[in-house]
């Protein structure tokens, strides 16, 4: 009985956890409910992942209304791994968040914080699981609205303006998507993605499809912070509570990228993207300039959160570069990097969170010799940093390596070279931090408490679990690649 309702449960569990948390009110209780709900989500996602591997696509008609009239959820090899990824990251970060939230947020507001978190999670999962174009918009707004709230919880007053700016830009992005979906509906008379994919080739008006395509892709570019539409991201990641940043960095942009992939390849089809729509004229340069310029910008940042935020935009550039290759190998690389980068960047933000927890800031020049006071945190940062650079036996290496060989396979040598160049830039910005942490003598008179002053265990353990996970996927890289390869095959083959 339950097994057949899994796709709905995936959304409903966090959705119902939110009001439950509001009712519970007490902050410990709120946290426990969030954690339990989140782990249930992980279980459901795991089950779905297994089911998809065994049986292939799962289609689920919400409320018993059959598609294309009703809203349909479907799970296939593209979104099942991401459901698992997003719910696991959220679960780990919720576990991690307890102490950091307790310290930085007024205790009377904790229940609201966790409720917003659960809503955000259900929005993100909904975007992943739904097979209905309009439903994507609805879930996008659910997740976005709760994200604005979560960001505004930040301590610095600039969190408010960051949230506001993100709100305006995010709403524009969502509205663009809405416009695009409207045009699609006008041209085809359907909202179901599977149905759309079949109807678009014979649509009455090609112009309407083209307009729909433009609006949807721009809208999703905003939401997934693709250069040059990334400007909202830096402040949002910088000033949000650090656990929120860790959560968003691993999930929000990745889910939007998934929707982009879905629309580009499943709904519109490869032919549309690159023969008629010149998307490679927009998306590819955006990707390449993104990972080059943003890596340079990251080098000059003095705040670790901001540095990592810009590095995120750069890493999204890699993903988009893989996508814009539009080959099996390219999409495999992009998809693998979605997974690897989500894990690595979340771990990095978590380690920065530990630093902030103890020092109250993450200002690079003031982290002299941090290894003496917070060795475990520093090691976590360094190990994840190596992953970000793409050192062999880390996840980052797997996806970058696949990306480079994919671009060579297509004959895009220059891009492969530029990816290498930007890896060198990554070495510089991570290296600057490591240099300060390990090698600098303390210059400031008394900037830090002396002796060991490690973050609490409840923060360290989830962080190391995540790092272990990403290292596992680095060493056994072929597993990520198998999953990504299946996803790419599914995307390129349309709905089958």
């Amino acid at each position: 009985m339950i097994a057949t309702q899994l796709p709905a449960l995936q959304i409903i569990i966090p959705l119902f956890a939110a009001p439950l948390i509001v009712l519970a009110r007490r902050s410990e209780l709120a946290w426990i409910i969030a954690l339990v709900a989140n782990f249930l989500c992980v279980l459901v996602a795991w089950d779905l992942f297994q089911l998809v591997n065994e049986q292939g696509i799962i289609r689920y008609s919400l409320g018993g209304w059959a598609a294309p009239t009703g809203i349909e959820y479907f799970v296939d090899t593209v979104n099942a791994p991401l459901l698992l990824l997003v719910s696991s990251i959220s679960a780990i970060v919720v576990a991690y968040a307890y102490h950091s939230v307790k310290k930085s947020i007024d205790s009377t507001k904790h229940y609201l914080f966790y409720a917003a978190w659960m809503l955000c999670l259900s929005g993100l999962l909904g975007m992943l699981i739904t097979g209905d174009a309009f439903n994507v918009f609805v879930f996008l707004e659910i997740s976005s609205l709760s994200t604005y709230m979560l960001i505004a919880f930040g301590n610095d007053r600039r969190a408010l303006t960051a949230s506001f700016r993100y709100l305006v830009l995010g709403s524009i992005g969502a509205s663009f998507i809405l416009i695009g979906i409207g045009f699609l509906y006008a041209a085809t008379g359907s909202l179901n993605m599977l149905d759309l994919a079949q109807r678009i080739p014979n649509a009455s008006s090609e112009r309407a499809i083209l307009v729909a395509f433009s609006f949807i892709s721009i809208g999703l570019m905003i939401k997934s912070a693709i250069f040059p539409l990334h400007a909202w991201l830096a402040n949002a990641y910088h000033f949000a509570p650090i656990s929120v940043t860790a959560f968003l960095a691993g999930t929000a942009t990745k889910v939007s990228l998934y929707v982009l992939l879905r629309f580009l390849f499943s709904v519109f089809g490869t032919q549309y993207n690159f023969e008629y729509l010149l998307l490679n004229v927009i998306l590819l340069p955006a990707a390449v300039f993104g990972f080059l310029i943003m890596s340079v910008v990251a080098i000059f940042q003095t705040d670790l959160r901001r540095m990592l935020a810009y590095s995120s935009v750069a890493q999204i550039g890699y993903i988009v570069a893989g996508i814009s290759l539009a080959t099996q190998a390219g999409i495999t690389a992009g998809y693998a990097h979605i997974i690897n980068h989500a894990l690595i960047k979340t771990a990095l933000f978590m380690s920065v969170g530990c630093i902030i927890y103890r020092l109250g800031h993450a200002h690079r020049p003031s982290l002299d010799n941090l290894i003496q006071t917070m060795p475990l945190t520093c090691v976590a940062f360094i190990v994840s940093g190596l992953g970000l650079i793409g050192v062999p036996f880390t996840g980052g290496f797997i996806s970058k390596f696949t990306l480079i060989s994919a671009s060579m396979e297509k004959g895009w040598w220059v891009m492969g070279g530029l990816v290498l160049v930007s890896s060198v830039l990554a070495i510089i910005y991570i290296g600057r931090v490591v240099d300060v942490m390990l090698f600098r003598k303390q210059r400031l008179p008394n900037p830090m408490p002396q002796g060991r002053n490690e973050a609490p265990l409840s923060m360290l353990v989830p962080m190391y679990v995540l790092i272990g996970l990403s290292l596992y996927l680095g060493v056994y890289g072929s597993e990520t690649l198998t999953v990504s390869g299946e996803a790419a095959k599914q995307l390129l083959g349309g709905f089958r």
């Binding site: 506001f164 830009l169 083209l210 395509f213 433009s214 010149l278 000059f300 072929s478």
Partner: protein, 562 residues
Amino acid sequence: MSWLIPPLLFFYGAFLCLVVGRKQRTFITLLIPVVALFSLLMLPMGNMAQVQFLGFELIFVRLDKLAFVFSLIFIIAAFLASIYAWHVNDKVQQVSTLLYAGAALGGVLAGDLITLFLYWEITAVASVFLIWARRTPAAYATGMRYLLIQVGSGVLLLAGLLVHYNDTGSILFEHMGLVSTGTLLIFLAFGIKCAFPLMHNWLQDSYPAATVTGTVVLSSFTTKMAVYALARGYAGEEILIYIGAIMTLFPIFFAEIENDLRKVLAYSLNNQLGFMVVGVGIGTELALNGTAAHAFCHILYKSLLFMSVGAVLYRTGTSKASELGGLYKTMPVTMVCCLIGAASISAFPLFSGFISKSLILDASAKNGYYLVWFALVVASAGVLSHSGIKIPYFTFFAHDSGKRPMEAPVHMRIAMIITAALCVIIGVFPSLLYQLLPYEVDYKPYTTSHVLAQMQLLCFALLAFVFLMRKGIHPPEVRGINLDSDWAYRKGLPSILAMSAAGATQIATKAREGLQAQASDWVFTIRRLSAPGGLLAKGWGVNSMVFVVTLLLLLVLFLNLK
């Protein structure tokens, strides 16, 4: 079994060293090479420890006779260096020594290019700590230069292997030859680590900067791993013969006038590599045997020389020839060992250099490379001049410096005596080494004519030394440094940059005066744009963000609907 392959054993040792106390660490550094030796001897020939990775089959162990002889000498070198470093109580050095030796061993055993790349980079990163362990700002800067070049070599290797894979679909590390862009890139990567002319200077720059024991370790692995890689991938590539010939000649002149004895040895190392590279270039069985044998002997006697100079440095605080002299009185054992090392490197009969260098010389003569052969003969006389005479003479004899240091500590003496004994044993019983070589050896080094020729060459060179000393023509040892190609990036580039920056400022000033306009150079612009608060890095307002969105939308619509 694949968890007990020699390179991994070294890594386990390094990890153990991280967590245990001082005494156990010293013990581990000695134990690991012994265990690794047993592991190596137990390994059957052929491919092992194959791992599927990203759809590639990585071969972590490919053992054949060529790989075996290099692995064996690496393990021996690691063991000797560990005895020599018995006194060291520095976790950094001990861990990095083990990591470095293990990685070099892994590189030699690697059966595919990806594995090779992996170990290639680990050797770079692990070895730099032997320089940083000196713990001075200067050593840090030198280490950074070293690391940059070594990692650069790795990047070239990666690029080359990608191109090569794209061309051929194979990542096997086998004979490749210089046939395509990919193989050229790999060749250059090997060339950097092998210190080809004009790519050589990292060696002389960094080895004298390492710690006393670190230099002994450094001298054994990186370059010989590169020689092995060349022998594996580019045997018989004719250009190597000429590269090698140049390598044997030009460092002689630098070594002759260098004051820092460890730098002299670094130049001499470069010159000896030249012999090996020539052997690889000729590529016949005899020549490759010569390369392998020479690498084997070279690691021993070069370690021995670095050990003795290191012992002097350890006891006197300097390794500069101008400050030394007359030490034989108080460091006689070190002196004798140094003399044995000097005799070995100069290839006196009954010492190890003689039986390995002859192979390469004969190979070049037999294959008709007469000019190269002659260059090698001249270089042999040169080797005598700097390593054979200069090192022992100016350290232990010459004018009395007045220094009366203690004899080297017991463990150093033991390490030196064992190494010296090995040099002599190999020199006296060449068949011991010959049976290890990759191909059948049908070669007799001790023929009358051969011994006579070598003795004539060396004795007359010695005579020339005496003559030049007596006449006062031989250049004295003076303090100072000699410029080499590192000038280009240590002085030239910075001053060009400074000059161009100054020029740019001038132009900018003029432009400001003339045109009332701002002009600034691009580095500054990037910095200004990217630093916190700069255009690219500040929090944009809603207005500009929406503006960019609108522009992009219009662009996309225009492109799509045109």
